[in-house]
Amino acid sequence: MSKEPTIDIIHQEEDGLHILHLAGRLDSVTSPAAEQRIVDIIEKGDLLVVNLKDLVFISSAGLRLILVFMKKTKKRNARMIFCSPGDHILKTFEVSNFLEFLEIATSLEEALLRAKQSKNKP
C-alpha cells in the first residue's frame, strides 16, 4: 500500500523574522493544507525565510503555491528568501522561469544573514 504524501511545516519566529522549514512533498495532495498555513504566516510577517533543504519534491501545484506566496509577499512589500533547495527543486525552478523572481540563498545561514542585514537597514 502506498504511503500518503505529506508536507511538514515547522514555523519559528525570532525577533520578527519568520523561518519556515518545509519537509516532504509539495504537490496537489499537500498543497491545500500548506497554502492556508503559509498564507497566515505571510500575512503576519514582513521578513520570511523558507528553508527547502528537506523538500524532496515539488509539482506544478507546489509551484503555483509558491507563485501565490510571492505575489502576496510582493503586495505587502514584504520579503521572502528561499534557501537550500535540492538539485531537483532548483532545476524545477529554473525550467519554470521561477528563478526570475525568487530570491534564493544557498544555505540557511546565508538566508538568515541576508534577512538580518535587510532588517538592520534604516
Binding site: 506544478s60 503555483r64 507563485l67 501565490v68 505575489k71 524545477t92 525550467v95 519554470s96 522561469n97
Partner: protein
C-alpha cells in the same frame, strides 16, 4: 476533426475524401478476391480494408459537419464524437479479430489448398496498394503531426499496418502457391491469417486505451501545467495576484482558465495588453489549447 475550421480543416477534409475513394476501391478489390478464392488471408484482408473504410468514412463525415454548418451548434468542437467514432472502429476491429481467428482454427482442423482466380486478383492489387499505402502512411503521419487528434493518429497507425499487411499478404500468398506441392503448405494460409488477426487485435487495444482515456475530461499532464506556470512566472511583474488556474483536456483540445488580479490603478488598455500577451504565449506553447484569462479579486477553487 476537433475544432479546426478554415484552411487546416478543409485540407484535412480533402485528404480524407481522397482516402475514402482509395479505401472504397481497395474494399471492392479485396471483396472480389475473397469471394473468388478460399483463402483465410484474403478473408482477413477483406475485413481489414473494410475496417479502414469505416474509420475513414466516420472521420470524413465528422469533419464535413464541422467545416460546413455545425459551427454554431458545436463551438467547442466534436472531440467526444471523434473518440466515440474511434471506439466504434475498435469494436468492429475486435469483431474482425474473432471472425479471422475462428476461420483460421477451422482451416487448421480441416486443412485445404488455397486456389481460385481471386488469388491472382489479390496479388495484383497487393503490389499496387503496397506503393499507395506507403505514400498514404507518410502523408497521414505528416497531417497527424500538424493537427494531432485521436482519429488521425489511429488512421496513421492503420496505414502503417496496411503497408506492412500488403507486403505480408503478398509473401504469404506467394509462398502458399509456390510451395503447394508440400502438404504442410496448407497451414501457411491459416497461420498467416492468424498473424493478421493478432496485428488487428494489437491495434484494437491501442485504440481502446487511447480513446477511452481521451473520452474522459481530465486535468492536464504535469509538464503542460508547468508550461502554464512558466508563462505566468515570465509575466510575474505584470499582474497583482494569481487567484487560480483551471485546466482540462477534452479529446485533442486543451482548455485553460486563469484567474488574475490586476492593480486597480492600471488602465484597462494596459490590462488587456497583458492578458492578450499571456494568452497568446500559452496558446503558442500548448498545442491545441484555448486559454481564457478572467479578472477577479477573490480566490477561485
Amino acid at each position: 476533426m476537433t475544432t479546426v475550421i478554415g484552411g487546416d480543416g478543409l485540407s484535412r477534409e480533402k485528404a480524407l475524401r481522397g482516402l475514402f475513394f482509395a479505401g472504397l476501391l481497395d474494399v471492392l478489390l479485396t471483396t472480389t478476391a475473397f469471394l473468388l478464392a478460399n483463402s483465410g488471408v484474403l478473408l482477413a484482408d477483406f475485413l481489414k480494408t473494410s475496417i479502414e473504410l469505416i474509420a475513414i468514412t466516420l472521420s470524413w463525415l465528422a469533419i464535413r459537419r464541422v467545416n460546413r454548418g455545425g459551427g454554431k451548434k458545436f463551438e467547442y468542437g466534436l472531440g467526444k464524437l471523434e473518440n466515440i467514432s474511434s471506439l466504434f472502429v475498435g469494436l468492429v476491429m475486435l469483431l474482425s479479430f474473432l471472425i479471422i481467428t475462428a476461420n483460421s482454427v477451422h482451416s487448421i482442423i480441416v486443412p485445404g489448398h488455397i486456389q481460385g482466380i481471386g488469388l491472382w486478383i489479390s496479388i495484383g492489387s497487393q503490389v499496387v496498394y503496397l506503393g499507395i499505402n506507403g505514400s498514404l502512411w507518410i502523408k497521414n503521419r505528416r497531417l497527424s503531426k500538424s493537427a494531432p487528434s485521436p482519429l488521425m493518429d489511429s488512421q496513421t497507425k492503420l496505414f502503417l499496418t496496411r503497408f506492412i499487411g500488403n507486403a505480408f499478404i503478398l509473401l504469404s500468398l506467394g509462398l502458399s502457391m509456390a510451395l503447394s506441392g508440400f502438404g504442410w503448405s496448407d497451414y501457411i494460409d491459416p497461420a498467416a491469417s492468424m498473424v493478421i488477426a493478432l496485428s488487428i487485435l494489437s491495434a484494437t487495444l491501442g485504440i481502446f486505451s487511447s480513446s477511452l482515456y481521451d473520452l474522459l475530461d481530465r486535468t492536464l499532464e504535469e509538464e503542460r501545467q508547468i508550461v502554464i506556470l512558466a508563462e505566468l512566472a515570465r509575466h510575474f511583474h505584470d499582474y497583482e495576484e494569481l487567484h487560480g488556474i483551471r485546466s482540462r483536456r477534452s479529446g485533442a483540445q486543451v482548455y485553460v482558465e486563469i484567474f488574475l488580479e490586476f492593480d486597480p490603478e492600471k488602465k484597462m488598455a494596459e490590462i488587456q495588453q497583458v492578458i492578450d500577451t499571456i494568452r497568446r504565449d500559452i496558446e503558442q506553447k500548448l498545442q491545441g489549447s484555448s486559454v481564457t484569462i478572467a479578472l477577479t479579486t477573490e480566490a477561485v477553487a
